[in-house]
């Protein structure tokens, strides 16, 4: 197992190198450049030249990539073009916000998605099945942007239950240590802040969870239906096991394999969906940051951010593979 994990980690190096080359080439093909956008309407030839020179954009392509690789070898993702800050520092400030949101959304998606899927499968073609699958279809097709605004109007503006946007109220103090606000509140035993942070995360997390929830529900349903038709389920039932045991111990465990794969993929999708959710809910995460970087042609942020996300993706996939072995001992990782 350990050597398997090690091998998978080593594969990370060529993967990331490939990613970096693709991103770099795509950036070069992208029209417009940061100097032009920094100066806007007031650009003069002289100012443009000087900025490009300073940013190394006047160098040939291979030199620019070489410089990027050289920095990368030293573990340095470079400095952002706009904010003149180490990319790594910017990532560190924003990633916890996104991870916190994505994990919360995924937890909600898994919890409700799996339960809905199971109940639908065990009561196939019942009214509940129809309603939940219709709901799942609606969940997949609902634009996050619209949904977020509707939630805001109902739960914040009309009912006043939840805060509209942001991660923390203006009048609540929290000592920031890890940038994971939930964790920081727990570490500092600041229960007022913890309540405030949890209150803030509910609406964006639920908004972000709709699509993965719907997909997980549908996936669980079909996987469960498949498993429930198997002979060993019939045997289990014939043995006189309770419905609960049959479903949760015998059927669910076997049905979970494709579901776990789906959840792994959904994590990536959630990171992508975070761009919109973060924009609507003024959530200071990495999604909005990367989007702005693309609009402003901040090459350093795009390169560094992409590499970071790619690494995360590979690691999550690895976790999913390891999870297979835990869920189903018949699968061994070699």
């Amino acid at each position: 197992m350990l050597s398997y994990i090690l091998r998978r980690v080593l594969i990370l190096i060529p993967t990331l190198l490939g990613v970096s080359i693709i991103v770099f080439l795509m950036l070069q093909a992208m029209p417009g450049d940061p100097a032009e956008l920094l100066l806007g309407e007031r650009a003069t030839d002289e100012a443009l030249f000087e900025i490009r020179e300073h940013l190394g954009l006047n160098e040939p392509l291979y030199v620019q990539y070489g410089m990027f690789l050289k920095r990368l070898m030293k573990g340095d993702l470079g400095e952002t073009i706009w904010t003149r800050q180490k990319v790594w520092v910017e990532v560190k400030q924003r990633f916890p916000a996104t991870i916190e949101l994505a994990v919360a959304a995924l937890c909600i998606a898994c919890f409700f998605g799996i339960i809905l899927g199971i109940v639908s499968a065990t009561r196939q073609y019942s009214i509940f099945d129809y309603i939940s699958m219709l709901g799942a279809l609606a969940g997949v097709s609902m634009p996050i942007f619209w949904l977020g605004l509707v939630f805001m109007l109902i739960f914040s503006v009309n009912l006043g239950w939840l805060p509209l946007s942001g991660r923390l109220s203006i009048d609540v103090d929290l000592e920031i240590i890890t940038n994971f606000y939930i964790l920081d509140a727990i570490i500092t035993k600041n229960w007022i802040a913890l309540k405030d942070v949890l209150w803030h995360i509910i609406m964006p997390a639920v908004t972000l969870s709709t699509i993965p929830m719907a997909i997980v529900a549908r996936m669980t349903r079909s996987a469960m239906l498949e498993v429930l038709r198997q002979d060993y389920i019939k045997t289990a039932k014939a043995k006189g096991l309770s419905q609960f045991k049959v479903v949760y111990k015998h059927a669910l465990r076997n049905a979970l394999i494709p579901v776990v794969t789906t959840i792994g993929i959904q994590f990536g999708v959630t990171l992508g969906g975070a761009i919109l959710t973060e924009t609507i809910f003024a959530w200071p995460g990495v999604g909005k940051w990367m989007y702005d970087a693309v609009m402003q042609r901040d090459y350093m942020v795009i390169q560094g951010g992409t590499l970071f996300i790619a690494t995360l993706f590979v690691v999550i996939n690895l976790c999913v593979d390891v999870l297979y072995a835990i869920i189903n001992p018949r699968i061994s990782v070699k």
Partner: protein
Amino acid sequence: MVKKIMLLFILTTFVFSGAAMAASPKMGGTLVFGRGGDSVGLDPAYETDGNSFLVCDNIYEALVAYADESTALEPGLAESWDIAADGKTYTFHLRKGVKFHDGTPFNANAVVFSIGRMMKNRDVKFLGKGYDIPAQDRVPEYWVSMEMDDTIGSIEAVGEYKVVFNLKRVEAPFLANMGMDFADIISPTAFMKNPKEFLRNPVGTGPYKFAQWIKDDRIVLTKNDKYWDKKGGPYMDKVIFRSIPENSVRFLELKTGNIHICQFPNPADIDMARKDPKLKLPTQPGMNIGYLSFNHTKEPWKSNVNLRKAIAHAINRKAIVDNIYQGMGQVANNPIPPTMWGYNKSVPGYKYDVALAKEYLAKAGFPGGEGLGEITLWSMPVPRPYNPEGQKIGVAMAADLKKLGITARIVSYDWGTYLKRQREQPEDMDLFQLGWTGDNGDPDNFLAVLFDGLASSSVRTQWHNETYHNYMLQGKQTVDQAKRTKIYEDALQLIFDECPVISVAHSTVIWPAQKKVMNFKLHPTGSVRMKNVWLDK
């Protein structure tokens, strides 16, 4: 009778004290300003975006300041200044007893340091030991684009509170430039402590001090209790700048009372704000211009003034302002806003008149648009303060031109490419939209920068006109404002006669605010000054 008089007396006292109470500022409270994006950095010399400057406006001050609601110059950190007879030497007499937020005393060396660090050839002289200014970490963009290296020769601290600027040429807008954000004075000791991190740990002399920055979320400023100007504010304990990217969400935050001021709301939300009894609508005619220009490097646009006028009279600018600016703007008669000195009131603007346009078109040699072929109309891909929706405006203009028989194809690129290609004046560009937001309230900052193509190849319109070029040179080299006003009025008349550009509109800035926000004034430069703002409980 005595009772009545007593009653009247009590009532009068009550009414007057009430009025006095409403007018006298209250101390304390936290103001939350909702805006569309975070600041990039807080070192005024190196920033280019409005969101950075509006925070800097409260942390720093410059030698000269703009008046509350105009760009009239007032003493800032300099109490007064003398200009030598030749117009090339400026002596600033600095305010005494001012301290930076970190306790460093403000003096001539701080001025030499702050401005000198932007110079290419650092021809500066400190008083005494001074500072060893570190190499520039990046190009000070505003300094370069305002051509300050061509203006300032050397800076010299000649006394503890006296600084002399020796100019290379007579530059009338120089003083106005010194009121801009890039010319803010910073604490040299704070900068020297960690030059690379200064933009995230700003230290100035302003009414509010920097306290905290959570990226993409908030910047917190606290009151500077030791602020030098004892007249007026700062009144509030804290000012928080919150980033809420989505316009409609930002407005909802205002409606629910979580923020006090909402920057750049959707035009559709303005009406809602008007009906809300808790809100008010601070308004300011923007110091900007959205225009449509011609490719002056190619024929027939270059030398056919009748053709240019035909286009100008064909475009229904009022319809554009009513429908696309949604009333948040005014039709422009001149390319500078009416609030600016030098504005020529006698210029009538091009009237929307299809018949007249057709006449001009025939005179131009293209009756009914024949012989002109399909032309391109470059339309902006992004909203800017002077142009809310370039593409829609483009479509409206093309429809107007169709009435003359001219077929115009809308062309657009991403913003960076649009700016880049436009500067190259390519053959496939006939008409293009662009605009400008003023920096310092000087007409030179509009008229020379935008239209004097003979001065520089960077001028976006590339209109080459000797008479106009001479006006611009005279304007720069004349220090007397009355004479300059006349020069710019003449220049504007020439622009109207020659029609190198069609001034479309000046947009109006409306930022709804809670009624309890008192004394908040929008500034034409877009700066946000919290010094005299207070919160009514």
